[in-house]
């Protein structure tokens, strides 16, 4: 019972439970908050996996920026509360859950079918150095410079697009 396993169980449980709760709450603000909790536990999982930079970026970008943005929009539009999860369109929802459950079972089957743990030898590969900022920075600005620049352009385009779409009409 190593610390890693304990931490994994805690974070994984919080992650799964908050995901399920998120989709079932009628109030959208509550859903958003559960999603934030989900992101936080994900950051914890990233840390266990030696992805320090990504963990921090997750908290800053996702939980800190994107979810705040979502909350702003929810508050702005003030949508009405939905009914409880299983009280509307019950038959359709049960059908959906069944289908997706089947898909989940198939994915899990594929996971175990390809049996990665016999292929990967983690004793050799796992290292804390993989996720440090220096490592990531070095890789990004030498081998992956092109996607980096492209991501920049993408963000620029998104910014302009969002501004144009959301502004009031020209007088």
């Amino acid at each position: 019972m190593t610390l890693e396993l304990v931490l994994f169980i805690i974070f994984a449980t919080i992650c799964a439970v908050s995901a399920v709760l998120m989709i079932t709450r009628p109030n959208p603000v509550i859903s958003a908050l559960f999603l934030v909790l989900n992101f936080a536990s994900l950051a914890g999982l990233y840390l266990i996996l030696n992805a320090q930079f990504i963990a921090v970026a997750q908290v800053i970008v996702y939980a800190g920026a994107i979810m705040v943005f979502f909350l702003f929009v929810i508050m702005l539009l003030n949508p009405e509360k939905e009914k409880r999860f299983f009280q509307q369109k019950t038959k359709l929802r049960i059908f959906i859950i069944a289908v997706v459950a089947l898909v989940l079972i198939q994915i899990i089957y594929v996971i175990f079918l390809s049996s990665p743990s016999e292929v990967i030898n983690p004793e050799v590969s796992r290292s804390v150095q993989t996720g440090t900022i220096e490592n990531i920075g070095r890789e990004m600005f030498t081998n992956y410079i092109l996607p980096f620049e492209a991501a920049g352009y993408l963000l620029l385009a998104a910014t302009i697009g969002a501004m144009v779409l959301a502004k009031k009409k020209f007088e």
Binding site: T2, E4, F8, A12, A16, A19, M22, I23, P28, L35, N38, L42, L45, Y46, L49, A51, I54, A57, Q58, Y62, F69, F70, V73, I74, L76, L77, P79, E80, E82, Q88, I97, V100, A101, V103, L104, I107, I108, I111, F112, P116, S117, P122, E123, R126, T130, G131, N135, I136, M140, Y144, P147, A151, L154, L155, A158, G161, A162, M163, L165, A166
Partner: protein
């Protein structure tokens, strides 16, 4: 004991399917978007897992870009929702069905 890689992968699959259920089920457009973000995050988790277990940093770089894209997409998507809200005064998906037969 090293955690078997399948644990992370199953967790990721579970989050992904929960996200799908949310996308197909919820009525509020903004909540649908949040479920999409959830799906994206499950993919991130898979990438980080493989990156860690294989010792290759490329997976984490990929997650970086996914995050950038997700941010851009969330921005534009919510802007569209705001624009629709201005016309239809609702974000209930059942009532945004102009392409109906």
């Amino acid at each position: 004991m090293i955690i078997p890689i399948e644990y992370y992968l199953v967790l990721s699959a579970f989050m992904f399917s929960v996200g799908i259920i949310g996308v197909l089920t919820r009525r509020n457009a903004i909540v649908v978007f949040m479920c999409v973000e959830l799906m994206l995050n499950s993919a991130n988790l898979t990438l980080i897992t493989y990156s860690s277990y294989l010792g290759d940093v490329a997976g984490q770089l990929f997650v970086f870009f996914v995050m950038a894209v997700a941010a851009a997409e969330a921005a534009v998507g919510l802007a569209i929702i705001i624009a629709i809200f201005r016309n239809k005064l609702t974000v209930n998906i059942d009532q945004i069905n102009i392409l109906k037969w």
